[in-house]
């Protein structure tokens, strides 16, 4: 496996645009091709801010440090350029786009990747879509619904995973995809991620989660603990198990001291 990181975050500080103070306070992180990293942390620790900054959300800004993706300065890229380069974010709270079906949206997204003048083959697209839905155990009628419009929390999450499966990213960031899912839905989502990973072993995954339970189904290579905008511990899956038993309390105390 290539040793050069696909994503390297160094000394990253970031805040809500124009609002002090920084939420991220010097984050360091390196993800190599094919690795699964998990970032765990209590509410308000800055986990989701990291996902937003990687996605290029206009409501957040980096105040120091760098994010390099495949040798490119990610922070200089527009959100659509990041997506075109293979970065995918499964959002925690995806917004509704009334009147735009999932199928139409995904077709537009795939078409956007093609050169001007090239047309997406609709039959191939249809086949891909059906095959991806089968993989995720979804009803084919699901893609006829308007994007996130009136979706339950679970449907929104599954829709994000479906998009991920169709767009086939190089780096997938999953922002609390497990929150709000019951155990069955969680299993389906985890199964989907594992299946995609099996298909495309070079895909890197950054799992952001509050709870350890997601990690019962997706095994990370590296687990990071984030508290108050910093990564305070990194290690193997055993770190997550330790958290399960002891919670975040010891990290909080360590920081105060």
């Amino acid at each position: 496996m290539n040793d050069r990181p696909i994503l390297s975050v160094t000394g990253l500080s970031a805040r809500v645009a124009d609002e002090d103070p920084d939420i991220l306070k010097g984050v360091n992180l390196a993800i190599r091709p094919g690795e699964i990293h998990a970032i765990m942390g209590p509410n308000g620790s800055g986990k989701s801010t990291l996902a937003k900054v990687i996605s290029g959300h206009p409501g957040y800004e980096a105040t120091a440090g760098a994010v390099v993706y495949q040798g490119e300065d990610l922070l200089e890229m527009e959100p659509d350029e990041r997506a075109q380069a293979g970065v995918f974010i499964a959002f925690q709270y995806p917004v509704a786009i009334p009147g735009v079906s999932i199928a139409n949206f995904l077709r537009t997204a795939l078409q956007a990747r093609l050169e001007d003048g090239e047309e997406l083959d609709l039959f191939e697209f249809q086949e891909l879509l059906m095959e991806r839905m089968e993989l995720l155990q979804m009803d084919p009628s699901f893609v006829q619904r308007s994007l996130n419009d009136g979706f339950s929390g679970g449907e929104k999450k599954r829709n994000e995973i479906l998009q991920m499966a169709v767009l086939n990213p190089t780096l997938a960031v999953m922002d609390e995809t497990d929150s709000g899912l019951d155990i069955d839905a969680l299993k389906v989502v985890a199964h989907g991620v594992n299946a995609l990973k099996a298909e495309n072993p070079a895909m890197s995954v950054l799992l952001i989660t509050h709870y350890q339970r997601m990690l019962n189904y997706i095994t990370p290579d590296v687990v990071h603990v984030m508290v108050k905008g910093r990564i305070v511990e990194s290690g193997g899956p055993e770190v997550a198990l330790g958290l399960e038993e002891q919670g975040y309390e010891k990290y909080r105390r360590a920081q105060v001291a």
Binding site: H57, F91, V95, G99, A112, D116, L147
Partner: protein, 471 residues
């Protein structure tokens, strides 16, 4: 080409259909309007005396009525009218088959992107080129069913009694200043008659196109759907760009007899110097059903409120309307439903999009007369604003004189959300594509009612418009 160059190269003023095909008119009146011009028009058309009298009477009404002081800004309109040629007769004569249609007109159709399939799939294509029909064909089976689909001029010539019985009965000249103007100088348009019980699966289609600088376009359409009949009429048009103001003022009259169903679909895309002031109204009789599907793009100012007069018990009227106001444009549109008889029902769904300094106004009337018991009406108007400078207003007029009536009104205004744009961009769409997708989603409830090729055309126009909206 880098994408930002593409975007800059497709500004709002860069009108997609901005071209003029060379066509020499064989006759036109001098600019401006008086009794002499009206006589010339009538004489050119070889009209019966009653029609000339009707025109002259309408001219007197037009002269007597003041310019409307409501709706959009009409302060510069008089100058436009003074320069308008009220009648232009094109060189080309009526054509019966596609092969006979002159080559330059075929080219015009081609450049407009009128689908090839049109000729094969669609049975009758009535195309209005300049002020008159030059190409008009009617499927044989329709003729065998007794359906009349003629130019308005031929309607008057070939079916004088039917014509006179209904002409001006839905929209009399005195209805409003522009109805009076149209009644005085009308030229071109369609005459449609569907006999009792006849059901048409394939829509009747008319394409027309204004192709003469400073040409006034005063099309007049009269449609009669007889008892128990069922049909769909589609009219779409695009206009080339002119440097001077242009003016379009149509009158559409429809009579939907007992238990008949009629749908009138129109997508209009005028160049942005056009005043578009149209009166369109349907009388809906007992148990009948009328649908207006109305799309307005372009123009400098559009004032257009399709109306249903629900005259007979159980009559139903639907009005679906989309308006798109780009930079400097004002779309003052909506609908009117008048409940005269008991158990009548109606619905208005209006969607408007304002971009740049564009302004859209919903203006609607729901009137329920005393005695129209158990009538129901529902109005839903949604406005989408693209930029901070975009504007929308809602003017719902509701007049209820009947206690048992039930009337609902719902209005929403939304902005294209930053979160929505970001979400779509995070999947690889650029900002213009994301914007276009959101707008298409917004109008989808109406676009899905359109025949496929029109929905495609509408989406394409909106995509082009959105390309100039960002950056």
């Amino acid at each position: 080409m880098p994408s930002n160059e593409v975007i800059q190269g497709l500004g709002l003023d860069d009108y997609k259909f901005g071209f003029v095909t060379d066509s020499e008119p064989v006759f036109r009146t001098r600019p401006g309007l008086d009794g002499d011009i009206v006589r010339q028009i009538s004489a050119r058309k070889d009209e019966p005396e009653w029609m000339l009298k009707s025109r002259l009477k309408a001219l007197r009404i037009y002269d007597a009525k003041p310019m409307p002081q409501w709706g959009g800004d009409l302060s510069e309109l008089q100058d436009t009218l003074d320069q308008t040629y009220f009648y232009v007769k094109p060189q080309e004569q009526m054509e019966r088959s596609w092969d006979d249609v002159p080559e330059n007109i075929k080219q015009t159709f081609e450049r407009l992107g009128i689908p090839e399939a049109e000729r094969r799939i669609l049975a009758g294509v009535g195309a209005q080129y300049d002020s008159e029909m030059v190409y008009h064909s009617l499927k044989e089976e329709w003729e065998s069913k007794g359906v009349i689909f003629d130019s308005i001029e031929d309607g008057l010539k070939n079916h004088p009694e039917l014509f006179r019985k209904y002409f001006g009965t839905v929209i009399p000249a005195a209805d409003n200043k522009f109805a009076a103007l149209n009644s005085a100088v009308w030229s071109g348009g369609s005459f449609v008659y569907i006999p009792p019980g006849v059901q048409l699966e394939t829509p009747l289609q008319a394409y027309f196109r204004v192709n003469q600088e400073r040409l006034g376009q005063f099309e007049r359409t009269l449609i009669i759907a007889d008892e128990g009949s069922r049909a769909h009429y589609i009219e779409g048009c695009t206009a080339p760009v002119y440097s001077t103001d242009s003016f379009h003022s149509g009158v559409i009259e429809i009579i939907v007899h007992r238990d008949a169903y009629f749908r009138y679909t129109t997508i209009q895309n005028w160049s942005n110097n056009m005043y578009n002031l149209v009166t369109q109204r349907a009388l809906v009789h007992q148990g009948a059903h009328m649908e207006w599907l109305d799309g307005n793009l372009g123009s400098k100012l559009t004032m257009k409120y399709p109306s249903c007069y629900l005259m007979g018990e159980g009559a139903h009227g639907d009005i679906l309307s989309i308006a798109y106001a780009g930079d400097g444009q004002h779309q003052d549109t909506g609908g009117k439903v008048i409940h005269v008889a008991p158990n009548t029902s109606s619905s208005i769904v209006s969607k408007s999009i304002s971009k740049g300094t564009g302004r859209s106004s919903y203006r609607g009337l729901c009137k329920v007369y005393d005695g129209a018991s158990n009538s129901k009406s529902n109005v839903e108007c949604d406005a989408l604003l693209i930029n901070e400078t975009s504007r929308t207003d809602t003017f719902p007029y509701i007049e209820i004189d009947e206690k048992s009536a039930s009337v609902g009104h719902e209005a929403t205004v939304s902005k294209v959300g930053d979160e929505q744009l970001f979400y779509l961009m995070s999947r690889g769409l650029d900002e213009a594509e994301a914007m276009a997708l959101i707008v298409r989603g917004f109008i989808e409830p109406i676009a899905r009612e359109l025949p496929l090729e029109y929905a495609v055309e509408l989406n394409r126009l909106i995509e082009l418009e959105m390309e100039g909206s960002v950056g």
